[in-house]
């Protein structure tokens, strides 16, 4: 359970997030969308403890964590896939996986634990790059590594900041499918995503952030029923209809 209540945060001299409130139940996916610079990453970073909250509450599993050191928050089960990958440039893929693996931590409720073998099965390209260093990977490979790194920490709360950026469409679809499965296993997921139709595919709720404020926060089903306000807010033509079968990767998902 992740609760954000009247959260304010910013950098140096200015405030970026203004009284943001969100509530993500275990087993559900909360999507956050919004224009560039709206404060999505700031929100994610504040929850992870990387940006200091100036006021407001952040609760994880009922425990107030705002103001804690980032490593403490990570220890309480928060996993982060940051925007821009941020893989360790001088560590090899194998070392990344070794470092991130936390087999001693209890696996996510309901699901089996994440092992190196299981992540490599999910992201086979990494398996053939095990001895490459972070800086030698292609953009997409780095993104895969960032996802693998977060999963191996056996998170209970997963913060995904545009996890599909740079992934080929099929792989992106598979990642979304995976996230969906994780949520079904009881994980709490906060998903930042630019492409609304992709977010709506799997999310239970959609929130829109505008200038650091939550201006829209509804269940996906409701948003689908009445797509106009959302579409207007993001000036997208229309909200895509629910996919017929969520588990099949749709190869040409982007084809207009």
């Amino acid at each position: 359970m992740l609760t954000v209540d009247r959260l304010c945060a910013g950098y140096g001299g200015g405030i970026v997030l203004h009284e943001v409130s969100l509530r993500v139940r275990p087993g559900s996916i909360q999507a956050v969308v919004g224009r560039n610079g709206a404060g999505k990453s700031t929100l994610v970073h504040t929850i992870a403890g990387l940006v200091r909250a100036s006021s407001g509450r952040i609760e994880i599993g009922g425990v107030h964590v705002a103001g804690r050191q980032p490593h403490r928050i990570a220890q309480s089960g928060v996993g982060l896939v940051p925007q821009g990958r941020r893989v360790f440039s001088r560590l090899t893929v194998a070392e990344h996986l070794h470092l991130a693996a936390a087999p001693w931590r209890a696996p996510t409720s309901g699901g089996e634990g994440w092992t190196v073998a299981r992540t490599l099965e999910l992201l086979p390209r990494l398996a053939v790059r095990l001895r490459h260093r972070g800086c030698e990977l292609s953009g997409g490979e780095q993104q895969m590594l960032a996802i693998a790194r977060a999963l191996l920490g056996q998170p209970r709360v997963l913060l995904l900041d545009e996890p599909c950026e740079g992934l080929s469409p099929d792989l992106a679809a598979r990642v979304r499918e995976l996230v969906n499965g994780l949520a079904a296993d009881g994980l709490t997921v906060l998903l930042v995503e630019q492409q609304l139709q992709h977010a709506m595919e799997i999310a239970d709720r959609v929130a829109v952030l505008e200038y650091g404020r939550v201006v829209y926060d509804r269940p996906t089903a409701e948003a689908r029923r009445d797509p106009a306000p959302l579409a207007a807010m993001l000036s997208v033509a229309a909200v895509a209809p629910p996919p017929a079968n969520r588990s099949t990767p749709r190869l040409w998902a982007d084809t207009p």
Binding site: G140, D170, L251
Partner: protein, 247 residues
């Protein structure tokens, strides 16, 4: 008609891994060419070879009829090859405006560019409208290191345009941009002077089809197919390539 850019038989090896293996590419003036393929196919590597930051093991790169294989990235930029990077690369302590000014300096034209400070002033005049086009006016005075991810990408596009490119190399320009920004980007690219050639790497195929005249599909460092967007869209080979890229 000879092409603006002719890359022949380009190969790049990293240890035992062939990132590019005998790739040919030809782009003529004003052509909009897209490069697609699964992750790790070698798209960025090919852009690096053309931009001069990676030296190929084999093969030649000719630009505007001359062999540029021995030139570094700076010299190629001065000849008109400008690019944006897959990971937005900006000058973090410089403001957005200053970023654009720096990018514009080498190829700026202005009547007084030989006067002291003249070049800088000419570049400065260019920066405002470019930032405006990218929707960055509000953050023009913010150091680039403090911009959001998507804003950095937009800034880098503005920088690439400020260099008055003849060939624009775009590595996933739309990644991380919101719908509004993507729309703006499409408009901008479509409004580019016809003489500017574009080489676009993108995973969003809707954009590829909307923006490109021709498409090359790479996979495992080799050219899998090339043709018009319509040909590529219907080619079963290409679908196969993507599917295998996942498994």
């Amino acid at each position: 008609m000879t092409g603006l850019l002719e890359a022949q038989d380009v190969s790049v090896r990293y240890g035992s891994l062939a990132a590019l293996d005998g790739v040919d590419l030809r782009i003529h003036d004003g052509q909009r060419h897209a490069l697609i393929g699964p992750n790790g196919a070698g798209k960025t590597t090919l852009l690096n070879v053309i931009g001069g930051s990676t030296r190929p093991h084999r093969g030649t790169v000719r630009f505007d009829g001359r062999d540029v294989g021995r030139l570094g990235p700076a010299a190629r930029a001065r000849r008109g090859i400008n690019r944006i990077h897959q990971r937005p690369a900006v000058f973090p302590t410089l403001t957005a405006t200053e970023n654009v000014v720096v990018a514009a300096l080498p190829r700026v034209v202005g009547r007084r560019r030989w006067w002291p400070g003249g070049r800088r002033r000419a570049a400065q005049r260019l920066a405002g409208p470019l930032l405006d086009q990218m929707g960055l006016t509000a953050v023009a005075a913010v150091p680039a290191g403090h911009l959001a991810h998507g804003q950095r990408r937009q800034l880098e596009i503005a920088m690439a345009l400020a260099g008055r490119p003849r060939l624009l190399l775009l590595d996933e320009p739309a990644a991380g941009l919101s719908a509004i920004e993507v729309g703006r980007l499409v408009e901008l690219l479509q409004a580019l002077p016809r003489a500017v050639a574009v080489l676009l790497v993108e995973h969003r195929l809707d954009l590829v089809y909307a923006l490109s005249d021709t498409v090359t599909v790479l996979r495992d460092g080799q050219t899998l197919a090339a043709g018009t967007p319509d040909e590529i869209r219907t080619s079963p080979l290409v679908r196969q390539a993507y599917a295998d890229g996942v498994a």
